[in-house]
């Protein structure tokens, strides 16, 4: 008997300007012990399907058609209190946005214990034990200490693991995992995938996994469904879909996967374009707005960014007496240089301090020690906002979490236009708005996106809004914290190519943080590998990939999911 079955699903988001059909005519089945992968275009409706199955569609979304069955029993029309009994216990759900899925005011322990105790009735002590155990299973170091902390004290990847632990802790029969490993480094990712596989085999759990990572698909799934614009275009055994896809969209998708084994000039683009859609116009940077007025008023020679002995620590246990306070050293003694026009890659363990370095450079955190200089000027010493402004304009950041970095009360138009207006980069309001629409178009959102609010977008779409906003200042230096983790490979290719073009034509400098090693290989000139707050290895990209020195680097490269193997096979 099938474990989970979705029949002829149609989901609509009605609004006064018309009804948007997010999902149409989708049918899926998941059998016990089986992993079904869902891939597809960003915004195709993958998350929406997951939400619909557990009955938690965001209003005003509604199921216009279709049925959902769990072990043959129809569940989509169950009343709320019946449905509630299924959630968590029978169907475990991991939402796409781990950073906002945790209650900010409760410790991790509380949230785990209440779930475990509710479903498994283990009692206070038993639940606590299991909570710690779960955290260890998802690879959180030092879980006894960490369990007492609050979500904001965790790094992006760690929060994602907590969410996974929460979804798995009550031993559900079906797990729906929406991009569960986007923020994880390959070694943790491998560990999680291992855990999932084990659950499927040992406990006969069925799993629906939504991901953009073809490596993950190749690694864990039995069958794959491919989605495009709300429809399911193809479904079949993993080997068949990856090796010999029928649908042209799938074919182009597969061919766009970045290669881990060799560096190419540009990312291969997806050729499949629906007939109704106009062909993407190529962007000529030299004449485009993005390419104009790039005069930053200094003729600095030498490294653009120079970091020396950078240190950052967080208070993890407060006390009246300074001597009894416990600190967590997030960044320990890091030094690095980034040359103008260079793309510097930063990879490493989740929670190793990558985002913290990004925030330190952008001035969001004040370092506990060390120096950061930008074009020869020491940023740490700058006290006045005015002086800082000068550098801020030249420096931009794409945040790791696309969900919380957009002001929920502003329209996309205003979000993206803000830097343009603020820095006076457009001569008139009209022109500003035109530029915004153009930018939105280039990140693949279409001009219509301008009038919507962030919550109306899918994860990948929000990430693209963030990218458009970062580009809107025409920065000289761009910090990208997992810029494409939520994007499907075709959009990813399009955006990364745009960034590469900007680098090539205008000498855009970048700090590129990612867990996706193939992307790092394609994008970066040099790479730094981080672990436990320290930089353990720095070198030319090709040298790192071909001849890693440090053990940890070797370990990472080994664990890199090998999609190409399958594809080639």
């Amino acid at each position: 008997m099938t474990l989970l079955e979705v029949k002829d699903l149609r989901i609509e988001f009605p609004s006064r300007r018309g009804t948007m059909v997010a999902v149409d005519k989708v049918s899926l089945t998941v059998n016990p012990g089986e992993v079904l992968g869902v891939v597809g275009e960003s915004g195709a409706g993958k998350s929406t399907i997951g939400n619909a199955v557990v009955g938690l569609l965001e209003p005003p979304g509604r199921m216009a058609n279709g049925e959902v069955y769990l072990e043959g029993k129809r569940i989509d029309n169950l009343p709320e209190h019946e449905m509630r009994k299924l959630r968590g216990r029978r169907i475990g759900m991991i939402f796409q946005d781990p950073l906002t899925s945790l209650d900010p005011l409760q410790t991790i322990e509380k949230q785990l214990v209440e779930t475990i105790d509710l479903h498994l009735q283990l009692g206070e002590a038993g639940s606590k034990k299991r909570a710690i155990d779960m955290l260890r299973q998802v690879g959180i170091p030092d879980p006894e200490m960490r369990v007492k902390q609050y979500p904001h004290q965790f790094s992006g990847g760690m929060r994602q693991r907590v969410v996974i632990a929460l979804a798995l802790c009550a031993e559900p029969d079906v797990i729906i995992a929406d991009e569960p490993t986007t923020a994880l480094d390959v070694s943790i990712q491998a560990q999680i995938l291992e855990l999932i596989k084990k659950l499927c085999v040992e406990k006969n759990v069925g799993m629906l996994i939504i991901t953009h990572d073809m490596g993950v698909i190749a690694d864990v799934t039995d069958r794959v469904a491919v989605m495009y614009r709300g429809n399911m275009v193809e479904e079949g055994p993993t080997a068949k879909i990856l090796g010999n896809p029928d649908h042209p969209y799938t074919q182009s998708l597969i061919s766009a996967v970045p290669r881990p084994d060799k560096r190419l000039d540009r990312f291969p683009l997806v050729e499949y374009i629906e007939e109704a859609h106009e062909p993407k116009k190529e962007l000529d940077i030299a004449t485009h707005w993005l390419g104009q007025a790039r005069d930053f008023g200094d003729a600095h020679k030498g490294p653009l960014i120079k970091i020396e002995n950078l240190q950052m620590r967080f208070l993890s246990k407060n006390s009246i007496f300074p001597s009894r306070r416990v600190y967590l050293d997030a960044v320990k003694d890091v030094s690095l240089e980034i040359q103008p026009g260079e793309i510097f890659g930063l990879v490493g363990e989740s929670g190793s301090g990558k985002s913290t370095i990004a925030r330190l450079i952008s001035g969001l955190y004040h370092p506990a020690g060390g120096q950061i200089s930008f074009a020869g000027t020491d940023l740490v010493g700058i006290k006045s906002e005015k002086q800082m402004d000068h550098f801020r304009r030249q420096m931009q950041m794409i945040f790791q979490d696309p969900f919380s970095s957009l002001n929920p009360r502003m329209r996309v138009l205003d979000i993206v236009a803000e830097p343009i207006r603020f820095h006076g980069l457009a001569s008139s309001k009209q022109e500003g708005n035109r530029i915004v629409r153009d930018l939105l178009d280039h990140v693949g959102l279409g001009e219509a996106a301008a009038l919507k609010y962030p919550h109306e977008f899918s994860g990948g779409q929000r990430q693209r809004i963030s990218i458009a906003r970062a580009l809107a200042t025409r920065p000289r230096f761009l910090i990208c914290d997992e810029p494409t983790s939520a994007l499907d490979v075709s959009i990813q290719a399009q955006i990364l190519n745009l960034l590469k073009d900007l680098q090539a034509e205008l000498g855009l400098t970048m700090l590129f943080i990612s867990h996706d090693l193939p992307v790092i290989r394609q994008m970066c000139d040099r790479v730094g590998v981080m672990r436990h707050g320290q930089l353990c290895e720095v070198g030319e990209t090709e040298q790192i990939f071909n001849d890693p020195k440090h053990d940890y680097t070797k370990h990472l490269l080994e664990l890199m999911p090998k999609f190409s193997n399958v594809a080639v096979a």
Binding site: P408, R409, M410
Partner: protein, 313 residues
């Protein structure tokens, strides 16, 4: 040029009526009703001199012999000239409500606006900047809190009387009231907004704005402010009633409008003296007017709060 201006103007009007706010407004009958009610009260107050049946503020026109008449439908003493009856000085209740609402609305709205602007401003700065600035502003708030509106009004009135020439006192009375009520209310907003701003400033969208280089002031106004409007609207709309009533109390203490030009609140206060003696209409009708006003403003506030939040639409 002018042409273009009018074009953008019509454009703006078009955009407003096409906008989400108008859409959600026009779809809720209750909200439309309360908007109409508020409008009706504001209009009848504004145009009172033209539409009220009597002029109760003209001392020569009122006659003490007409005092305490019950509403017109009372078969024994009702007088058709005075639809809702008269008060203890012979003023027509209906007209006094309309005239009195002018003062009450002015004082109510202006003083709430004043404390909202001051409180929200200081609260935002305090919560966002933190440290010494926060400590300083909040300690001023502590000082402020220790003085009830009554004392502040007495102080301000006294100072105003000291500074301004005698002739201006009567004209200034209303402004003194607005200032006094406004200044004694700001702390509530300041402290609430500060709390919210402290939470909000750590969110990533604010950090994103900081990275863009947006000035703190702009961040406060454009990013944090819209996200803390919820509690402000709640307190603000409720404070409207409070301000109108406080005005009545203060007028009694001799600061504010003279008794010959009673406001809505003052009329209720006057009528309060006559509750035992059976002249209920002096209190009940202005009371109802006040309830209606407060009710509709609060319903509007509720709606606006939800409408301003894109997620709740």
């Amino acid at each position: 040029m002018a042409n273009q201006d009018s074009a953008t103007a019509t454009n703006a009007i078009y955009r407003f009526f096409d906008g989400d706010l108008w859409y959600s407004f026009s779809r809720s009958p209750i909200v439309v009703l309360s908007a109409l009610m508020t409008l009706l009260i504001i209009l009848s107050a504004t145009f009172a001199p033209w539409i009220a049946p009597h002029n109760p503020f003209d001392l020569a026109a009122i006659d003490i012999m007409d005092s305490n008449l019950p509403p017109a439908w009372n078969e024994f003493e009702g007088d058709i000239r005075f639809l809702l009856g008269t008060d203890d000085q012979g003023r027509d209740i209906l007209s006094t409500i309309m005239y009195g609402a002018r003062i009450s609305l002015l004082v109510g709205f202006a003083s709430v606006a004043f404390s909202v602007v001051l409180g929200v401003g200081l609260g935002l700065v305090s919560g966002y900047v933190g440290g010494r600035t926060d400590a300083f502003i909040m300690r001023i708030a502590d000082v402020q809190l220790s003085f009830p509106a009554i004392l502040i009004a007495l102080l301000i009135d006294g100072v105003a009387r000291g500074i301004f020439p005698r002739e201006l006192h009567d004209e200034l009375a209303v402004y003194v009231l607005i200032f006094a009520i406004g200044i004694s209310g700001w702390v509530q907003y300041a402290r609430t907004v500060r709390g919210a701003a402290m939470v909000e400033k750590n969110k990533e969208y604010v950090q994103a704005a900081r990275v863009i280089g947006i000035r703190p002031v702009t961040i406060l106004v454009r990013h944090i402010l819209p996200n803390v409007t919820g509690p402000v609207l709640v307190i603000g709309t409720i404070h409207l009633a409070l301000a109108i009533i406080t005005e009545a109390t203060l007028s009694f203490l001799g600061v504010g409008v003279p008794p010959t030009t009673p406001s809505l609140g003052t009329l209720i206060r006057i009528g309060n003296d006559y509750l035992f003696s059976g002249e209920w209409w002096i209190t009940i009708f202005p009371g109802l007017a006040l309830i209606l006003l407060v009710l509709s403003v609060n319903l509007l506030g509720d709606w606006l709060r939800d409408a301003l939040n894109p997620k709740l639409r």
